[in-house]
């Protein structure tokens, strides 16, 4: 959770707290209980929006049947998982899947030989995937360089915290599993620090797959899109890619990326935090 979201959550919950303090002003009868109910619903809604906003939002639009027009000739369907365009009676439905290839771009804890094997097999795996797919798709890697010193300071802070955790666990005579876990995390952080020291540039990435399906009706296009998305998820599973269908506001952001990209890292990081 980023700082801005934390501030939003804090202020929104303060209003709810004031609401609890204001309850006695509503009297002791039925209005009091209505007030309690409203407060509980608001609290639940805010907390749900904090953790699962995309799912909650698409559930609301699905139930109410709300669709959006993000630009002329385009529509986002009520399930918030596709952008549809109609051209000359043909419907084009576009969907997005997250596809973060961490194994290939971030060599975290695996042994160098294992890492090398993955790097060697990657081009061949990619070609096999492309050869076996018989519909259009795009694999996007949106990358941005990060401030080297800032990242180094952050990693050193994390390492110090893990060292503190380790010493506390040793004082408390924690079991070997806990100690191994903390040591593993420390090794990962140290590996990242070493790589930065060796001159490697830290980058932030958002990787996603975009696919477009066609149909003579909106439903046919959406059905075809579902099938294509499933096939892509299956095909990319061979590359150890964590894939999930993108819904809600992130779909809107990715749709806009076709026409303009965010020009700063901060703007990019505020857009993706749940699904990507």
């Amino acid at each position: 959770m980023d700082e801005t979201k934390l501030v939003f959550l804090l202020f929104s919950l303060i209003i709810v707290l004031f609401g609890f303090l204001a309850l006695h002003e509503l009297g002791k009868g039925i209005l009091y209980y209505i007030g309690v109910l409203l407060l509980l619903i608001t609290t639940l809604f805010i907390l749900a929006m904090n953790w699962i906003d995309a799912k909650l939002f698409s559930a609301i639009t699905s139930i109410l049947g709300i669709t959006f027009q993000p630009a002329k000739d385009y529509t986002i369907n009520k399930h918030q998982n596709a952008v549809i365009k109609e051209v000359n009676g043909i419907f084009y439905a576009t969907g997005y899947i997250t596809a973060n290839l961490f194994a290939y771009t971030f060599r975290e804890e695996s042994a160098p030989e294992d890492d090398e094997e993955k790097m060697i097999s990657a081009p061949e795996l990619w070609e096999r995937i492309v050869m076996n797919i018989n519909f259009p798709f795009k694999f996007h890697v949106l990358a941005s360089g990060l401030d080297v010193q800032g990242i180094r300071d952050e990693l050193e802070g994390k390492r110090s915290y893990q060292e503190f955790q380790l010493s506390r666990a040793m004082q408390n005579n924690s079991n070997e599993v806990t100690l191994t876990d903390i040591r593993r995390r420390m090794n990962m952080i140290q590996a990242k620090i070493n790589r930065i020291s060796q001159g490697e540039k830290p980058i932030a990435t958002v990787m996603y797959i975009e696919t477009t399906a066609i149909g003579v009706s909106e439903k046919a296009a959406l059905d075809a899109l579902d099938a294509q998305v499933n096939q892509l998820r299956l095909s990319f599973s061979s590359m150890d890619v964590e894939t999930s269908r993108i819904i809600g506001r992130e779909l809107y952001s990715l749709f806009n990326f076709n026409f303009s990209l965010p020009t700063g890292m901060k703007e990019l990081s505020t857009m993706f935090d749940n699904q990507s």
Partner: protein, 277 residues
């Protein structure tokens, strides 16, 4: 300040004011049934304030339209710059220019030794870390545009059908009629085989954007960033990248260029025919 911050501050203040009225105005001046209404509105505004963190772009249009089809924008999502090499769009008071750069990579893993595969993967890793600005690298598989070829075949078929009808009406000799029918069968078979499946092309490109107060400012900044990236790509892969211009740009932006219309229609009608049979 981001627009969502302004919206949040406005909504949270309105919510706090209403809650303050409920808390501090005596019940003699404000009856309880009005207080519960204000209490309800305050909580709705509070929930909206939190939601504005990610959905500020929706709240305004949703309240304005109050329909099931909410229009966020009624304008074209972009327009092409006069030079034809940049996509432009307006964002608030600023313009955002986006440039697409083609990376001509024609290497296949099947022709590579293990060392070369490792080198290639490392080159891709270096490519991804090329710029401090957000850059998007894309590999796109799209349907080859056979529209003009299909149109030409359809025209040939119509012409040959006319020729056949002419010959029939003139009671032409059988061998002449057979020749035209053979030609017609040939064109139809060709159209059938083309319509049976798509042919695909794979392109690799990167995208970079820049913001400016004026159109030309945004365009020139984006072009400058593109040139820097192009020299980086050239040094990594040893290939000459180029800025994508004109109609070629649309293939990376519009879905109907990803799946060209005649090619697609031919495929759909083939599928329907197969289903009917």
């Amino acid at each position: 300040m981001a627009s969502y911050v302004g919206m949040f501050v406005g909504l949270i203040l309105a919510s706090a004011v209403l809650m303050g009225i409920v808390m501090f105005v005596p019940s003699l001046l404000l009856p309880s049934y009005i207080k519960i209404i204000l209490f309800f509105i305050s909580l709705v505004l509070d929930a909206m304030a939190f939601t504005s963190r990610y959905y500020s772009y929706l709240i305004g249009p949703l309240l304005k339209h109050r329909k099931k089809h909410v229009i966020l924008s009624n304008e074209n999502p972009y327009w092409l710059a006069q030079s034809g090499d940049t996509i432009l769009r307006k964002s608030g008071e600023n313009f955002i220019a986006t440039v697409y750069i083609s990376i001509p990579l024609y290497r296949s893993a099947t022709e590579m030794e293990d060392d070369e595969k490792l080198d290639f993967s490392q080159q891709i890793s270096r490519l991804v870390g090329l710029s401090k600005d957000p850059v998007r690298y894309t590999s796109e598989l799209y349907v080859m545009n056979k529209d003009s070829y299909i149109q030409k075949l359809k025209e040939r078929i119509t012409m040959t059908e006319n020729e056949e009808a002419d010959l029939q009406s003139k009671d032409a000799p059988k061998n002449e009629l057979d020749r035209v029918r053979g030609k017609l069968a040939m064109w139809r078979n060709m159209l059938d085989s083309i319509g049976k499946g798509f042919s695909f092309e794979l392109s690799t490109y990167m995208t970079v954007s820049a913001t400016g107060v004026k159109e030309y400012e945004a365009s020139s900044l984006a072009q400058q960033k593109a040139k820097e990236l192009m020299s980086g790509v050239g040094s990594i892969f040893g290939v000459p990248p180029s800025i994508i211009t004109g109609a070629d740009l649309l293939r990376f932006v519009e879905p109907e260029y990803l799946l060209p219309i005649s090619t697609v229609t031919e495929q759909i009608s083939k599928n329907i025919q197969e289903q009917v049979i």
